[in-house]
């Protein structure tokens, strides 16, 4: 296949940046999208041009490091991560526009690389069970109904890639935050800090500058792990019941 790539280039986080057009040829449909970009970068490097910088690591759809807004959609046309997107999803001769995630809370560092440390800070605000290593009860001491464990697992599969923020018209991080709040709200181990957690994580989410939720469902539709917006409803419930009943005045 031959393709035209329209890629956002930006030197660093203060540079204004802009689109540049590149051509790549002889792309195999079995290549992953990132391998196609590797081809472009080899091409650029041979010409002595700075390669296009993009985040990627595991290339098997689980680390959440890869991003890219491809042809108007986060992670491209399929509901998967960019590293799992293959060129068979594109047509010969197509023009592909590649942009970084766009959100105030995800500043662009270079080209297509953004800073997602805001997500880490949301987790640091309360996305954990406060147990120290050692001295915990036997793993089978508290039975957890399979349905609940499975549902908690579904929420826990979030890879923190930020596609939900990228997809949302408000750059809201509700799906990300709610996945963690939900996981721990459902499990017995999460009960002790349940209220505190919801209040703190949402306060941090707001402090990072993510937008509010308009319930468009775009996040769920684009989430490579298929995290459901029922988690958002659950988080809202958790939050409202926490603020009215907690003792944090």
């Amino acid at each position: 296949m031959n393709l035209t790539l329209n890629i956002w280039r930006q030197k660093n986080n203060v540079d204004k940046g802009g689109f540049r057009e590149y051509k790549v040829s002889d792309i195999s449909k079995d290549m992953s999208f990132l391998e196609m970009l590797d081809v472009l970068n080899e091409q650029l490097a041979e010409k002595g041009e700075d390669p296009v910088h993009f985040d990627h690591d595991c290339r098997e759809g689980i680390c959440g490091m890869c991003s890219l807004y491809i042809n108007g959609k986060p992670h491209g046309p399929l509901q998967t991560t960019t590293c799992q997107l293959h060129m068979r999803s594109f047509k010969d001769g197509e023009t592909i526009t590649i942009e970084p995630w766009r959100a105030k809370a995800f500043p662009v560092m270079k080209d297509l690389v953004v800073d997602r440390s805001a997500f880490d800070r949301i987790i640091q605000a309360g996305g954990y069970v406060s147990v120290n290593t050692g001295g915990v009860p036997d793993a089978n001491e508290i039975p957890i109904p399979k349905r609940i464990a499975d549902e908690a697992f579904d929420a826990a599969t979030c890879i923190g890639c930020g596609a939900c923020v990228a997809a949302c018209k408000n750059a809201s991080a509700m799906l990300f935050t709610s996945a963690k709040v939900s996981q721990l709200a459902m499990l017995p181990q999460g009960q002790v800090e349940r209220k505190e957690r919801a209040e703190k994580m949402i306060a941090q989410m707001d402090a990072e500058g993510f937008g509010a939720c308009t319930n468009t469902g775009a996040c769920e539709a684009e989430c490579p792990k298929g995290i459901s917006i029922t988690n958002i409803a659950r988080m809202n419930r958790e939050y409202f019941s926490a603020v009215v009943s907690s003792e944090n005045v």
Binding site: H53, H56, E60, M65, D120, P143, K146
Partner: protein
């Protein structure tokens, strides 16, 4: 040099308890006077950083990824072993110990492995308490599955994403300590060197991957939790960023590298589809619980298959060779990884491979679907099947998967004693970065176990023993050794950037990978290894004169990052070959064609090679010096491994 493994006295089952009692403690109020650096935030690093911070030490945690949650432990699929015996099927700490020693083809330390089995049960408790959603039975208790190399069900799992769930558990504990101010996090920061002052590890030099700033960090102890070096093969199941740099720099500062040639080739990976391939994707070993491995019985049928004249489903039952079930009736498809991989290679070498390249075998779920329904198979492996379909474009519910072995894990690593300390005092290595527990072959679901055992339950004790004997005063980063190390890092960067070369870093990496795979992969020969050694030497020279590293230092520069890593891989590759050449026997993942039984199984030489090879770096372009730590087996009897 005498290698003191510091294995405690006493009977095997009491060693760890006795040791815990005998080692020195740091008073709770004094712990805040000690700083510990943790490099890497995978299972070992995150769990160690969190646990040490909980105890009161000041921790600095470094990772090259943009978040600690992205460390490659996240990609582990199948599960984590623990001797809980929840299934009432005869498991015990001793059995897990025995299986692991045997699985490792008797090239691991008994005491370390026993301790690993002992603390395995605590790991599961810890993870459940953190809110890790393991798979459960309808009654609400934890579920288990079987894994290769064991005849009990002791593997805990969270669908096909166990590594992810465990890492997120450790990451959450780490995040909590970041919030508490006990851990300072340095993401997008790469360790460039270890600083050794008066023979003790005193800190590290790092490069900020965004700004290029070279910085020094001093501490009382340094923990390297930086994973394995499978990417020396270019194509592996490791993440693109996985590298040997931290371990290698430590090695060049005097830390010994142990058993570097012990590489695990995982049997169930998606085969290479072309030259463009940047990495290989694993299909969890758990698939071998239900999938049956086969190739056509004859070369002729395979040829038809490759030409596309027939499809897998056209091949009649009697024309299928379920070669693992045939050769190993008692373990069948669940033989250990090295055995499964080697047999896949044999049948493909015979011309019975099933894809265009001839390097693939089938992993077929037809019978499992018939037996258990598609729905049940989907519930067990749905995400893996989806992944397979996305990558290959084929539907594994309808046609058998094609798989082929690929580099997956490195059992070798920095030499450590029982306390996980390298031969440099104050420098520790945890998880895949050390060599200690898996011998010559790692059993499935044991990597997660080891990473977390080291981080949660071993290092919090053993690092205290060292710190208790260390003065509070810390070496300042103004110390000349820090200055010197920083300057060396800067010089090396300038040197890389200044090479007026023409070839990209990947060009060299791919060539290195090919040499390693061809000559130091699944099967090795003396002749091939010697040839590979000279090829690597040439490649290294060419790299340092003809590589083209673009951009500058003071910016986000992915070419420069890669160049550093590949430069280290080139040196490591040579050492791996030295190690493979030295080991004139076959064991586990190290298969020397000269040493095999008449049935083609690995032929160990316990009389001459029951030792750990620990290599010492003595200088640029000089042959490394081999030190041997004899392996003493007091509890298990060394036998020819048999899975028949």
């Amino acid at each position: 040099m005498i290698l003191d493994s510091k294995i405690p006295e006493g009977p095997l089952a009491e060693k760890w308890s006795r040791h815990k009692f005998n080692i020195k403690l740091v008073n709770p109020a004094n712990k805040r006077k000690y700083d510990v650096i943790v490099v890497g935030t995978g299972l070992a690093g995150a769990s160690a950083a969190a646990s040490l911070a909980e105890l009161g030490y000041n921790v600095k945690a470094f990772c090259f990824q943009d978040s600690p949650r992205r460390a490659h432990s996240i990609a582990a699929q199948g599960g984590i072993n623990a001797a809980k015996n929840y299934q009432n099927d005869g498991d015990s700490v001793y059995r897990l110990f025995y299986d692991t020693i045997k699985g490792g083809d008797y090239r691991a330390r008994e005491a370390n492995v026993y301790r690993l089995a002992e603390v395995s049960v605590n790991i599961i408790d810890q993870c459940v308490a953190q809110g890790v959603p393991f798979a459960r039975e309808y009654g609400g208790l934890l579920a288990n599955r079987s894994f290769g190399g064991a005849q009990v069900s002791r593997t805990f799992y969270a669908r096909g994403q166990t590594g992810q769930q465990l890492l997120l558990g450790a990451y959450s504990a780490l995040s909590r300590q970041v919030a508490n101010g006990k851990v300072k996090l340095y993401p997008r920061t790469e360790m460039m060197d270890v600083v050794v002052v008066d023979g003790k590890a005193s800190g590290i030099v790092t490069r900020n991957l965004i700004t290029g700033a070279i910085e020094s960090h001093s501490a009382h102890a340094v923990l390297l939790c930086t994973g394995g070096y499978g990417n020396v093969f270019f194509l592996s199941t490791n993440a693109m960023g996985s590298n040997v740099t931290a371990a290698w720099r430590a090695h060049k500062r005097g830390a010994l590298m142990a058993n570097p040639c012990f590489t695990q080739i995982h049997p169930t990976c998606i085969p290479v589809s072309g030259d463009h391939q940047s990495k290989l994707t694993l299909m969890s070993e758990s698939l071998r619980n239900d999938g049956r491995v086969w190739v056509p019985a004859t070369k002729e049928i395979s040829e038809k298959l490759r030409k596309g004249e027939i499809t897998a489903n056209d091949i009649k039952e009697e024309d299928r060779d379920y070669f693992l079930e045939r050769k190993y009736p008692s373990f069948g498809n669940l033989v250990p990884r090295d055995v499964a991989s080697r047999n896949a290679k044999y049948v493909c070498d015979e011309g019975r491979g099933v894809n265009e390249t001839g390097e693939a075998v089938f992993l077929d779920f037809r019978d499992a679907i018939k037996r258990d329904t598609e729905e049940l198979i989907r519930a067990k492996y749905g995400n893996l099947f989806d992944m397979y379909q996305q990558i290959t474009g084929e539907n594994p519910y309808k046609v058998p998967m094609k798989i082929y072995p690929a580099v997956h894990y490195t059992m070798g690593g920095l030499w450590v004693d029982y306390n996980l300390m390298t031969n440099i005092p104050g420098l520790y290595a945890l998880g895949e970065a050390n060599f200690s527990d898996h011998g010559a072959n790692r059993l499935g679901a044991s990597a997660l176990m080891q990473g977390l055992a080291d981080g949660y339950f071993v290092i919090p004790y053993t690092v205290g023993d060292y710190l208790a004997q260390t003065p509070y005063a810390k070496i300042d980063t103004d110390h000349p050794e820090f200055q010197k190390a920083e300057q060396e890092v800067k010089d090396r960067i300038s040197k890389l950037l200044d090479i007026p070369g023409e070839k990209t870093v990947d060009y060299f990496h791919k060539r290195l990978g090919k040499i390693m795979w061809d000559y130091c992969g699944m099967a090795r020969t003396e002749e091939g290894l010697k040839k590979a050694k000279s090829m690597i030497k040439e490649l290294k020279t060419e790299f340092w004169s003809n590589v083209n590293v673009l951009g500058g230092n003071e910016e986000l520069n992915q070419s420069l990052e890669k160049a550093h890593r590949v430069a280290d891989f080139l040196e490591l590759g040579e050492l791996m070959i030295d190690d493979a050449l030295n080991r004139n026997e076959s064991c586990g993942g190290h298969f020397r064609e000269e040493y095999q039984t008449p049935e083609g199984e690995a032929l160990r030489d316990d009389e001459n090679f029951a030792y750990v090879s620990a290599w010492q770096y003595v200088g640029e372009d000089e042959e490394e010096v081999l030190h041997k730590e004899p392996l003493v087996f007091e509890n298990v009897k060394l036998t020819q491994r048999s899975y028949k």
